[in-house]
Amino acid sequence: MKYYSYFPGCSSAEGSAKAYGWSTQAVSKVLDTELIELDDWNCCGSTPYSSLNELSSLCLSARNLALAEKRGFDLVTPCSSCYVILSRTNQHLKQYPHIKAKVDEALAAGGLEYHGTVRVRHLLDVITNDVGYEPIRSKVKKDISGLKIAPYYGCQIVRPRLGFDHPELPQVLDRLITNLGGEPVPFPLKSRCCGGSLIISEEALALDLLRKLFDSAQSNGAECLVTLCPLCQTNLDAYQSRVNKRFNTHFGLPVLFFTQLMGIAFGLDEKELGLQTNIVPAAKVLARLR
């Protein structure tokens, strides 16, 4: 059994991507990996905080890192945005001593201190590099061969360069899909942006980015997409009908969290994986597997 501190992030905790949180826990149990939720964690502040108030953004993350440091395990998050924000806080505190002094002072006001020892990891990194493909293959119970999947990484798991996969043409998720028995299709736009939170303030612009992603996935023969970020999944899934309406297209591509795909291959209960919360239903694609 391997232990980690777990930082679900707001969407995967009790928010719009709760199925990501459920399937993460379900899959990690199968893989003898214990994700212990960080007590009383706070929102990382994401892009809005780091855009408007740099120091407070660092302090929001530093509180979480300080709480995790007391436990001593790596801090794992399934959310790409939390991953970038927490990681860059670590980097900034190392790189800018004068900023670290200010963050230390603020933390002290809350009775906390942080010494910079927590390693921040994305869940996909932990599953593919710590658990590894061999144990994953040994847990596969259901044949998903022939299922054509577009592996969608989005931006922030690979950029800025955090050293865990190639910043533009990552491969880890492709390899995971292959090891589960599925077929990753070539997907040139695999790490292009889904529009992120601008889907709320500048919808037209984000829908255009989404249309390009669906186009690329479908024209390469994908029957569904698999992703690893709560915001990417919500944009691709909940706004797919808006894309169809705006561009007069007929996409009907289910969008699964990679943990949901793993759970399906492991033969876990679909309810436990939260498949009922997926808006573009995956049933038709999955029915073929039975």
Binding site: D40, L52, Y96, R159, R192, I200, L209
Partner: protein
């Protein structure tokens, strides 16, 4: 050999924000602009913004809608041959624009960010439904109607809740103490 660096207040301001210091290294090759998914929507391209900032055009840069169209996808940052962190520079410009108090009427993104930060600041958590409601009410409530189908399908699939996760009262107090200190005079970098 001693190198003298020209002192520009605006460039100094940007350089003082972590990640902004690379602005002096730009060679105007345009790689960032060519990589940006949104460059064609921006009033000024990323490389233009840098050139303008270095020319000291503070008001023009801070009034530009360009930084608000940054998706934080970091493609420019990983491709820049000079190792400049353009995404961080965009964030630096957003924070300086916000601090200058000028509102930007060309984009709703500042209002969206403010709504997001309001909840994070006061609760330590992001209640997605309330965050969106606050944003639409503060900008264009009528737009909320056109988005009803999306909201309803999220609600129908159990993905938006009225109830939200809460920190413990001690956690809320601790976070408030930390942020109050960070935002006290002399706090902001």
């Amino acid at each position: 050999m001693e190198t003298r660096i020209r002192s520009d207040t605006f460039v100094d301001e940007i350089s003082a924000i972590p990640g902004g210091e690379g602005i002096r290294l730009c060679i105007q090759c345009g790689t960032c602009t060519a990589s940006c998914p949104n460059a064609d929507r921006m009033q000024h391209t990323p490389s233009q913004l840098i050139a303008m900032a270095r020319a000291g055009l503070r008001d023009e840069v801070l009034a530009s809608d360009a930084p608000w169209y940054c998706l934080s996808c970091y493609l420019c940052t990983v491709r820049c041959p000079r190792g400049i962190k353009q995404t961080d520079i965009m964030h630096a410009l957003e924070s300086l624009a916000a601090r200058s108090g000028k509102s930007n009427r060309r984009t709703l993104t500042p209002a969206m960010y403010r709504s997001f930060n309001h909840y994070v600041r006061s609760t330590g958590n992001l209640p997605e439904l309330w965050f969106m409601a606050r944003f639409y009410l503060s900008t264009n409530p009528l737009r909320a109607f056109s988005l009803m189908p999306v909201a309803l399908s999220l609600l129908g699939h159990g993905r938006l809740s009225f109830k939200t996760r809460k920190l413990t009262p001690e956690g809320v107090r601790q976070l408030k103490a930390i942020l109050d200190k960070a935002e006290s005079p002399g706090g902001a970098p």
